[in-house]
Symmetry: C2
Subunit: 348 residues, 2 copies
């Protein structure tokens, strides 16, 4: 899939929610400093409470012109009902950051804050590209062989087949151009490998994906094959995607916990654990998708990236880089040309 | 939840598919021999090709009156389309075993063979209890703290709220009376803990579960909490259940593989692995639901148990014990009284 659209040079402007996530503002500020210190083509707007941000910034040396604080006195808490929060807290870091993207003052917005508020803000403030019917949240999940894009894990449950088709197209373009996987294999989550299996939604979507020439559709994928890297773009509706994502996180952490516990249970196993730990840690690191940044919310007029609530500075830095690639590769324009406009012409 | 129905004494008759599963007939025969050797209240019918079964039986000493071979010359292969296979192969071990349950010649049927054929045969040959709208497949999944029942993982996709209510009731009765968990916590799989979240099906089911006085409904469960043992009975429709089950299996085996690989990667880690292995193995064993037997297909006129295709003799033995408890506790009658009949009286 080659883009007709030109690559974008120059500065990428990223608004970053300095107040979002468990480790904010410290980890966020550090991640931003790291990003601008490594690359001169990035400008970061740290959105949040000026004093708290400045205090963190004072710890570092960095190219001053590349970081700017944007005051946002309010903070949306994790537990707040997202729709009301976005509506009422106009002075929150999430709402102000999203508005910067809307006003084209920033190309992208990164937040490790409330998922719900980021999803709501993305849809209502930044807004969808005309012709894109839904904006899916597409986190990366680690696999035995690398990483896959799981699309959709957002809040738009009860999707229709036409939505899933667009998810597949956007996911494919994203994996190819941002993550750099050539001709990514696209599969739909199903309860068997055969075409006749599945629920009503999958049965309706399958032929649409088969007929779509712009993607490398490889058919159904059973959930068992996902951790083995069975496909690069895993298409499903948001309820199923959310279950996969959460179970992935929960089961990984439970299993690693169980194994740690076992290895500390006897003196002999403790010594064994001590010897095996370095190799184990380095291997498990590759089983960690935060290397690739946060989850993009695709199909909007600008990029919104949702980082994990527990984001480290490294994930923030990687999320900022992700925004740079997204803009340089002109993904928004590709979405418009290849998906939104082509869909429109068919409708007419 | 107390059963009004009397407990059943005497012999439990279990038909076992001697030809089903990767290790058949050897593991199946060995598992059956183990069951009848340990308990005198079981009679096993080994259904399959007499010569192959007899050859395996000849290896063991066992109480002869407790095992009987039932000839079934045909075998349904794993890859066969289930509906046609069940219709055409009338002389297969699965069809003959199911018919024994239907004719009350056996109380239960255990198979490690084709899941599809077991599901189809259960519904079409054994048949549902009158008033039970769907027969869910309910495997056990291991958790940090024990085991949970995941209901439904069967082939009945696109379930309705009234079906999920019956699943919750059957699952609760099963966990309490067969697995022995008092007042089991019942939860519905959802994408958030709040009642207002979820897709249309969950939103419709939630109030039905809340209103059902016969179960200990604890609300929504996010997939992340399942491996932590967040509920004893995990209710969901079959598509989601299948995704959870398959991802559970796939991710566990991938992670354990990754960890093994890491531990064998350096000399130091190899020595560590050698020292830690016994403790690790014994802890991971508890993370293995086959201790509890196979997955019951509930709501039928008799019990059908689907064991893993890779069932060891131990899982077969445990599946047979499971059938004994099911009959002794008179679960079928409890289903009739508490669910099927109560539903009927409401309808009238």
């Amino acid at each position: 899939m080659e883009a007709d659209t030109k690559k974008q040079d120059g500065l990428t402007k990223v608004a970053v929610d300095a107040m979002g996530g468990d480790n904010a503002p410290a980890a966020v500020v550090k991640g931003a400093v790291e990003a601008v210190s490594s690359r001169s083509d990035i400008k970061v707007f740290l959105v949040g409470q000026t004093d708290a941000i400045q205090k963190e910034l004072d710890r570092y040396q960095y190219p001053g012109a590349q970081i700017e604080i944007v005051e946002a006195p309010e903070v949306i808490e994790m537990a707040e009902p997202p729709v009301q929060a976005v509506r009422k807290k106009k002075q929150s870091s999430i709402v102000i950051g999203m508005n910067m993207v809307k006003q084209k003052e920033a190309d992208a917005f990164v937040s490790a804050g409330s998922s719900g508020a980021v999803l709501v803000g993305g849809q209502t403030i930044v807004g969808r590209i005309k012709g894109i019917k839904r904006a899916p949240l597409a986190p990366m999940i680690p696999t035995e062989t690398g990483v896959s894009l799981l699309i959709d894990c957002g809040a738009n449950v009860d999707a229709r087949a036409e939505h899933l088709l667009q998810f597949a197209q956007m996911g494919s373009i994203y994996m190819e151009n941002v993550v750099g996987i050539k001709n990514p294999r696209v599969a739909i989550v199903n309860i068997g490998a055969e075409e006749e299996k599945g629920n009503a939604l999958v049965k309706e979507t399958f032929p649409l994906l088969s007929a779509c020439k712009e993607i490398n559709f490889v058919g159904s994928i059973e959930a068992r094959e996902i951790p083995r890297g069975g496909a690069d773009v895993i298409v499903c509706e948001a309820f199923v995607g959310n279950v996969i994502l959460k179970l992935y996180e929960g089961l990984s952490s439970t299993l690693v916990g169980v194994i740690k516990q076992a290895m500390l249970s006897t003196l002999k196993s403790k010594i064994g654990a001590f010897l095996a730990l370095p190799a184990l840690k380095s291997r498990l690191k590759t089983f960690d998708a935060s290397e690739y940044g946060g989850a993009p919310l695709l199909g909007l007029n600008g990029l919104v990236v949702k980082s994990h609530g527990s984001s480290s500075e490294k994930e923030i830095t990687n999320s900022i880089y992700q925004c740079v690639t997204f803009r340089k590769e002109n993904i928004g324009e590709i979405f418009k040309e290849k998906i939104a406009d082509s869909g429109k012409s068919k409708e007419e």
